[in-house]
Amino acid sequence: MAVVGTSTKRIDGIEKVTGTAEFTTDIVLPRMIHAKLKRSPYAHAKILGIDTSKAEQMPGVRAVITAADLPDVRLGVLTLDEHLLAHDKTRLVGEPVAAVAADTPEIARAACEQIEVQYEELPPLFDPEEAIRLDPPVVLHEEYEEYEKLLEIADMDERPPNLWQAYRIRHGDMDAAFKKAEDEGGHVIENRYATGYVHTACMEPHGAVAQWSSDGSLTLWAGGQSPYIARDGLAKALDLSPSKVRVIVPFVGGAFGGKLTVKEGAIAAALARKARRPVKIILTRAEDLSATAARTPFIFDIKDAVTKDGILIGRKVTSILWGGGYSGEGILKPIFSTHLYPGSYRLAALWVDSYGVYTNRVSGGALRGYGCAESAWAVETQMDIIARKCDIDAVELRINNLLTEGERTAITMPAHAFSAHECLTKCADAIEWGTPSESLESPWYRGKGIALGNKYSFAPTASSTELKVHEDASCELRTSAVDLGQGAYTILTQIVADEFGIEIDQVKLVTPDTAITPFDHVAGSSRQTFHTGNATRMACDDAKSQIRTLAAPKLEADPDDLDVSGGRIFVKGSPEQSIEVEDLFVVEMLAGKRPADVEVIGKATWEVTASPHDPNTGQGEEPMAYMGHGAQAAEVEVNVETGQVRIRKFVSAIDVGKAMNPQGVEMQNYGGGCMGIGIALHEDMCFDANGEMTNASLMDYKIPSIVEMPLNEYMESIIVEVPHQHGPYGAKGAGEIVVVPTSPAIGNAIYDAIGVRIWDQPLTPEKVLKAWKEKKASGNGSG
């Protein structure tokens, strides 16, 4: 019976629903103490001195550390620009300056208050357009040139001193495209878009528990997205060999890109080493929201050349990623966001200049959709504007510009398993595209909008798994893939059950522990089903091959003529000639039986390579592992007196190649849609003039509730299945594409309803109302 492709129950469901699932915060070790961080109150300041003596003398305090207690190494993803604890300067409010471990969290917090830090305030820099100047008013990293960098950026005559990323695309003749558009009655359409500050705001805040062994090795429990990235980061920060670091990942209460590194865990480890006791650190909600990486804003200037028939012939983009004090996990966003500029469309000319800059705010991190969700806002709003300008239906216009299977995009990504057309048309049908929305009584207006989206999954990357077959024919999968709530454990279990023809409950998972489970890159970039799924199938094949070899003499057959399924090994074509898998594990001895000296462990590594891309042209071969497709549509109701936007109907159609667990995909469609709606309409980190976040609580940071979502019958999930040649069973990931088209679909619907454009996210009631009032005052629309 096929298990893959069916909506089996989540294997972690009972544990999570009954509260027995163990998360980082549940871990309690003997003699464990608690850590708190002393954070900078200034966005930009020199540290002149730190006096920890009062804190150290407090009863119950076991260790206090500052940068002086740590190896002098800078950390980072690709530009190593950040110390674990602020070294000589702080570059954002909330940057950790010192840390305390004490018997209770309360003592640790009180001790932090007793640490005296002498600062010399420096003028802060918040504006990205100031930051990118060649002569900026403030320079954040004076020693930037000396930093270790693992990534080449585009050539520049002179690097603006606050710039940490530059990437160019030079494809086709840009001038000719604009000239053609102007000469032949087409259009040149230029607009500026911006995204907002968004936080992952996971239910589970960041945290870790660190424990040292007497041999100088470290064990860290932390609910993160990658035990191996965490291990290597800890090793680097604490000057250890990675083999001395063991990372165990308990259940994770959401990550969404926000738990790629374990900065707090490394600080806890340093405290644990000094205190010679296990240390737990759990960030408060306010710390989590204000001082861990966020999705920081982009500014996009986009200029399109279009023929009078609505064919896109050229696109020019300049973008700035509004980075924070450190480059962090946002380092690749200015590059990866460019995948949406061609997206699913044919573009004869594409020129892009994409930058990332330092400012004295929270550092840029990953959040579901890494760059694509942001650039889609600009591109897919632009497509709506083009359609209206050319007086062509917005769905038809998009279809007319789509690539076809086998073509390459302007940045050389092959269009494969190209389902954009199917996603778009199914989505359009579901929202009854072409039928105008009903008129409502004043002051409410209804309108519909649609948008297309893509999400790449990055390469190079690799996943390894091991598959042990037990005496009872059950299977044990050892994987460092992480279930963040997306359902990875269930899907991997389904694959093993399917490959071995056994029941789900005959599969056991050994979850991430770098001492036991093999390398897996990361639970990120929608890669777990695709890459770990492939590695799991291959490990199953390896194990089955071992079983066939063991069984061949017993069945007096060639191993290649054997098959393994349902706990039996049989000769292909003659299933009656078979033995049980458990027969392999016993030998006859005298008149009895004893366990045989047999071990069946399949192993596999699935790897996807990528060719380097020239940062000056954006051209290369096979830049990514695969490209996902999806379309979403929204019908909104807008109140022109209050600016309130209600989502009446929402449709999400995504291509997953093969729905490994259809209900799981449906949940991604719904959950992603809800998150996308929150990002589009509600969520916004606010900062005061000193750079401090002013809404760092879940009361003030507006994650929408279920009440703000469309009613069940108006929320539609559509699963498209166009198999990918390299996907396991043809599958692609579903985790991120579901938030990519959401904002532009909603923005376009607002325009359809009341004829105004909001250019910067989120599309809050006050912005909608302001735009409406401006439209009324000027007597026409603004888009």
């Binding site: 509600h682 003030d700 507006k702 929408p704 009440v707 703000e708 009631p765 006050e766 109302l769 302001k770």
Partner: protein, 290 residues
Amino acid sequence: MIDCHYLEPTSVSEACTLLAEHGDGAKVVAGGQSMAILLRNGLSQPSHLISIQHVTGLEDINASNEGVTIGAKVTLNRLSGIGETHPTLRALDDVVSDVADQQIRNFATLGGAICEAHPASDITVALSALHATVKLAGANGERTVPICDFVTGAFATAAGPGELLTEVVVPSFDLASAAAAHRRFALRAGDYPVVGVGAFVSLDGSGNCEDVRVVIGNCSGAPAHAQEAEARLRGNSIVGNNGALAEAGELAAAHVSPADDPMAPSEYKIDLVSVLTREALEEAIARATA
């Protein structure tokens, strides 16, 4: 963890004695739904928490000719639907179900919600529009204070040392010719509103406005009467006079100067005052003429 003494009196007089004894350091906790947040954020740092959980006699709802008396410990969930049994409380009923969520409303008390004196509280706005009074018990006996005098600013009340809020009284009015209503705009279900407006109208025999009260929340520290809007309407024809109501809304908006906050800039709050004032008045008139 909060480091303070936790005392559990069993009567109003014992609670008042403890409050007087511990002075400014003493704070009352009832359902704990406001206090827990104040404590967590360090906005309140009491030396003594006086829990009135075991104080009896503060959980009744009684109606008389003078009005409806509601005990300070009545939970918000018990007030949900109160407008059906006590029609003069419809404006209060308009808001209670919008406060936070079901779990919080199971614990949150009316007295606690008033004494928190949150500038965005819909409850104090609705009660102000209803001309409610609160009864304070103290060492020297009881006193009654109009709610609009009781809430003196953001998180500030007129409760003196040793005083405990025991009851809220909503005075009677003639349901045949008067009514109140509340309208709010929040960014999210369960949130404090960006702006809330309470309105009360009473009509004379010819449909003119005999009395009117418009109270605006979250545009200043305490709920504020929109006196200019009230003056525009008092004595004038208001039934079916949408122009007058819109004008009242605009007058109310013209006389508020709210501060920016992370929920909304001042300018947007002013826009909402205009819309919500008109809507609250429309609803109150509709109820008075129903």
